[in-house]
Symmetry: C2
Subunit: 296 residues, 2 copies
């Protein structure tokens, strides 16, 4: 039996240690570094970096080598949360049970902290000690994958669509497309980066991308479900907010039960995409199943 | 006689064409791309990209090869202006004679437009078609240089210091250090990138960095002077605002005349740093002299 809890705990420790080391390159502490540390070390689930490391393992490579990519993905995810929480965007006061960055510091600092984490992601991706020049092209590929996924044809466009959709009745197709950009693109990039760094061939990279698309969507569907019936104490954030803001969600479009069936089907698809992988893909399989059972 | 005007016009055309091509990779037009184009093509002076190309030329290499770096530098400069202009920061309504991004669009779009341009910079830097793997390490070096200069130990820290200094009496040393980070770091990176791409050795890279430090500071001093005695029509922005906001500037600390002498001395230092370079550094020399004569 594969022990997902032990796996996640081990990787989370490894990722947190690496994130701290990327933050502490200069020694000095000041307000911007304090705010970056506050948001980056606020106890996120580290889903993207774990997926990146698990993809490297599924490819048969050492996840240690993919740590800079894993950390960069988490920095970008964190920056996007800081900016999404700003008064001009979602205007959220709480994140992971703690005051959001602009509440704990101030609005200007929060804008710059997001900028700084986004920039640090690329500094991290380019700070690799390279034994061989050929590896440099792999890292340029990773930078290309991540910057495209996080950019105006990926995550940022998803956020634009999300804002434009406020108060509107979205169709299921529109909702899927918005989530595919807002959260799906970076999750997909997490898998692709691990696969590229693990030297998988393009057929098998596509399989991991299919896995990623399905679990990315499944994660969003279960997020919407938790906003209906989750426990705010365990979640560390309020529930019922989607309904309150009249937001289009899977439960609002499909109903709660059909949303659960949909999430189950997506996870089934994700597992099928991994069929030709051996037991080294066991962590990816366990993560897919965990999405259905999670309560936070 | 070297014709700086013709040189700047030619390079500006080349840079603008390249910037447009990096924006138009997808065909589709939407609000985020519209806002990115609005700010990026708003008629900036293109100082950083020109310096990058001129450094490549001074190194004896083809400036065409450095265009992706030149464009990335301008994207980062533009993103920093968009975010600096936000209500939570400097709250400016006009930039280059046109409404700022958050005035022409809205605040949330302006935050995301800055994010998108910063991300596009790194997409641009990693999208190089590489004939040889060894060139990949050079581009990783460039990404490292730019991300460090633009990050929380460079430009972003400069902006933090600038905000913290509002209403305070800065010493000349504090003012220099703040500008060295806020504008100097990216100007220095512009030269270093061109030098790295042009395969200069480390001694000569240091000479270009010394040139950069001096003209970066000279540019800031003349900016402060223009805020006192410039023509708002020609500048495309209001003057007298520094005094109005009680901002520490070179004229306020040194007096107007001594500030002009200081700028002249800095340009002199910059020219001395180029002493061992041949006539291929003529553009860099002309740019240094131009800083003293500019009226916008």
């Amino acid at each position: 039996m594969f022990d997902l809890n032990a796996y996640l705990t081990g990787h989370n420790k490894r990722i947190n240690r690496a994130l701290e080391s990327f933050l502490k390159t200069s020694g000095r502490t000041d307000r911007i570094l304090e705010a970056m540390t506050y948001s980056l070390m606020a106890g996120g689930k580290r889903i993207r970096p774990v997926l990146c490391l698990a993809a490297t393992e599924a490819a048969g490579a050492d996840p240690e080598d993919a740590l800079p990519a894993a950390c960069a993905l988490e920095m970008i995810h964190t920056y996007s949360l800081i900016h999404d929480d700003l008064p001009a965007m979602d205007d959220d006061a709480l994140r992971r049970g703690k005051p959001t960055c602009h509440k704990a510091f101030d609005e200007a600092t929060a804008i710059l902290t997001g900028d700084a984490l986004l920039t640090l992601a690329f500094q991290t991706l380019s700070s690799i000690e390279l034994p061989k020049a050929e590896q440099a092209t792999k890292w340029l590929d990773v930078i290309q994958l991540i910057s495209y996924a996080a950019g105006y044809r990926g995550m940022i466009q998803g956020q634009m669509l999300d804002m434009a959709s406020e108060g509107k009745q979205l169709t299921l197709a529109e909702l899927k497309s918005m989530h595919g950009l807002k959260t799906g693109a970076l999750i997909e990039a997490s898998l692709s980066c691990g696969a590229v760094l693990g030297d998988l061939n393009s057929t098998r990279i596509s399989m991991l991308e299919s896995y990623a698309q399905n679990i990315g969507l499944a994660f969003q569907v279960t997020d919407d479900i938790l906003n209906v019936e989750g426990d705010p104490e365990i979640l560390g954030k309020a529930v019922g907010t989607d309904k309150l803001h009249n937001k289009a969600t899977y439960p609002s479009l499909l109903g709660l039960e059909e949303s659960k069936d949909f999430a189950g089907q997506l996870v089934e698809n994700a597992l099928q995409a991994l069929e030709s992988f051996d037991q080294k893909a066991e962590p990816l399989r366990a993560i897919a199943k965990y999405i259905l059972e999670r309560n936070k």
